[in-house]
Symmetry: C2
Subunit: 340 residues, 2 copies
């Protein structure tokens, strides 16, 4: 090993040392570091020089102990890791969050809350590690945060389903988006319209199904052709298979996620059903799956990156005590491509 034992860090320089080197008091150094006004420019300069010379970085633990703030927020990802990171939805949400926070003084941490370690998550959240939390993919079964909100600002992606009246969240207009998608199928003359719905323990799953139902009800049509998936391609394929196995005719299909649509495509193809000729398909989510399919998927676009950004914005406002909308609802638009 050519360099110092990496396991034993060299003692970090402290505020005190900077103060000594600059010939001022600790308080003054602190003022400079937090660039509070009213510090003599010359002294400020001396302090800055000393900081550079010592390569000083303020100790967060000390700072947050004294100030009761951490300047960090965390993203809680309760799903299984591989699932989370493969789903383009999460990627975009995270991108939006990171983008907004980059403009602020807050750093983003992420914690993967597996079912096996709920307590660790709770301890992390309540242990003064972060000023607030962002919760994504909020199944009704998850309750890692239940004993947390109230003690810590929390913002959810999507409307929480249970017991969280009054909580802050950002959501997409899932229901109206789904209804619009279904209306498109109707306007194409389709009358036997099925849906592959998402999980019914997530508001996105529930609301998209409700939108499809509403559109069909308005048109006086049957809304019994429903099968469920979990938003993944494989589950979409399985649902499509079940739908076809029913034997009822299907000439239109609304799929609650682009990934499930990808699965459905492969099954339709293996049954020699053409898209959109035999079955017109409209999806939800405008990600790379949607664009990469052949024919490209007509789908409901929603601003996922903005959803992330807005979550971060809401959380920061909450933390800093600024007034903020409790609920943000983001609109959708229909992207017309080849599948319908």
């Amino acid at each position: 090993m050519t360099h110092r034992d990496p396991g034993r860090a060299r003692p970090a320089p402290t505020l005190e040392m900077v103060a000594a080197l600059a010939g001022v008091s600790r308080a003054t150094v602190s003022r400079v570091v937090n660039d509070s006004p009213s510090v003599d420019p010359q002294r400020a300069r001396a302090v800055r020089d000393a900081i550079a010379e010592l390569n000083y970085v303020p100790n967060r633990a000390a700072r947050s102990l004294a100030s009761r703030r951490t300047q960090a927020v965390t993203l809680v990802l309760p799903e299984s890791t591989s699932k989370v990171f493969t789903d383009p939805f999460f990627a975009s949400v995270i991108e939006g969050i990171a983008g907004y926070l980059a403009e602020t003084e807050y750093t983003l941490t992420m914690i993967l809350s597996s079912e096996s370690t709920p307590d660790k998550t709770r301890r992390y959240l309540l242990g003064g590690n972060v000023d607030g939390a962002l919760v994504v993919s909020h199944h009704s079964g998850d309750d890692s945060w239940a004993r947390v909100s109230g003690s810590l600002p929390v913002v959810f992606a999507g409307r929480p389903l249970v017991g969280e009246a009054g909580s802050h969240y950002v959501e997409v207009e899932n229901e109206s988006g789904a209804a619009t998608a279904t209306d498109l199928l109707l306007s194409r003359g389709r009358r036997n319209i099925a849906t592959i719905a998402g999980p019914q323990d997530m508001s996105a799953g529930i609301d998209r199904l409700a939108g499809w139902r509403r559109a069909l009800a308005r048109a006086g049509l049957d809304s019994s052709r429903v099968e469920f998936g979990d938003f993944s391609p494989a589950s979409g394929a399985a649902a499509m298979r079940r739908l076809l196995a029913r034997g009822a005719p299907i000439d239109g299909l609304f799929v609650a996620s682009a990934q499930m649509a990808a699965g459905a495509y492969s099954v339709l193809e293996s049954h020699s059903l053409r898209i959109p000729g035999d079955v017109a398909v409209v999806g939800f989510d405008d990600d790379e799956f949607a664009a990469a399919l052949t024919p490209a998927l007509t789908t409901v676009h929603h601003p996922v990156t903005r959803l992330g950004a807005r979550m971060a914005e809401t959380l920061v406002a909450l933390i800093e005590g600024r007034p903020v909308e409790r609920v943000t609802r983001l609109g959708t638009s229909l992207i017309l491509r080849g599948s319908a």
Copy 2:
């Protein structure tokens, strides 16, 4: 709003309050919390009851200030967000890391170090937030960690290229894996073997190219048919196009990532070249891309999840001052499928 102002957290219970309630000293509570031995069982019970009653969670800032440890490690992701989270490689590495750490007392945080905020990253790493860092996707241009290692234990995924002699890392045997893959093409009678190499500022890119070269040299064959990509599907397609545009015959192809192979496939297809009939293809990475292609990709498998786990294991050992291998090299195996 039906519940308390989320921006203002209720004051958290402290060690002191627990001690008062349990009728013991702070030191004793601390002993119980850190389950150090030699505490009277009856008092320990009283303490535990008090903790439960107050819903007490130790304050991390205070704890780490006093103990100089944070019990947290961070994963530094220097790439652009969307890229990172879409690549199945990262997903698996993270899974491995999270899996190992779940067994320990350490929590995992992640920080996205965009080029725009290198200083924020550095401050985070050196500011006493974490006991160590894991660095993934280490381009030679990135140096956020350069002023960090030496002050903080760091473990890299892949061999760092520059100035990090003595640093700890975990890597895959890229070169021998690539050579084996190329040997397979040779054994299939192919003699005009091209490669789509990865970026030459990452050891994975360099070493896989070197392995291909070595195999061809050993066979006394020409190794001039090289084009480069950045591991993404689009770059693979572009490289394939350049390769074909050269006009030189190609009957074998080694691609340094499965994602690039996906891109190459589409270009070969559009040129009516059959796989493996006209061009036999071997890839690297055994992810969903590899399996999903038609024909399924014969590829070099490497244990990505284990790579993550081993990184975490190495880091924890480093932090705790336990002896540990500086370098771990993980073997590869060849997965035979339809493309070669």
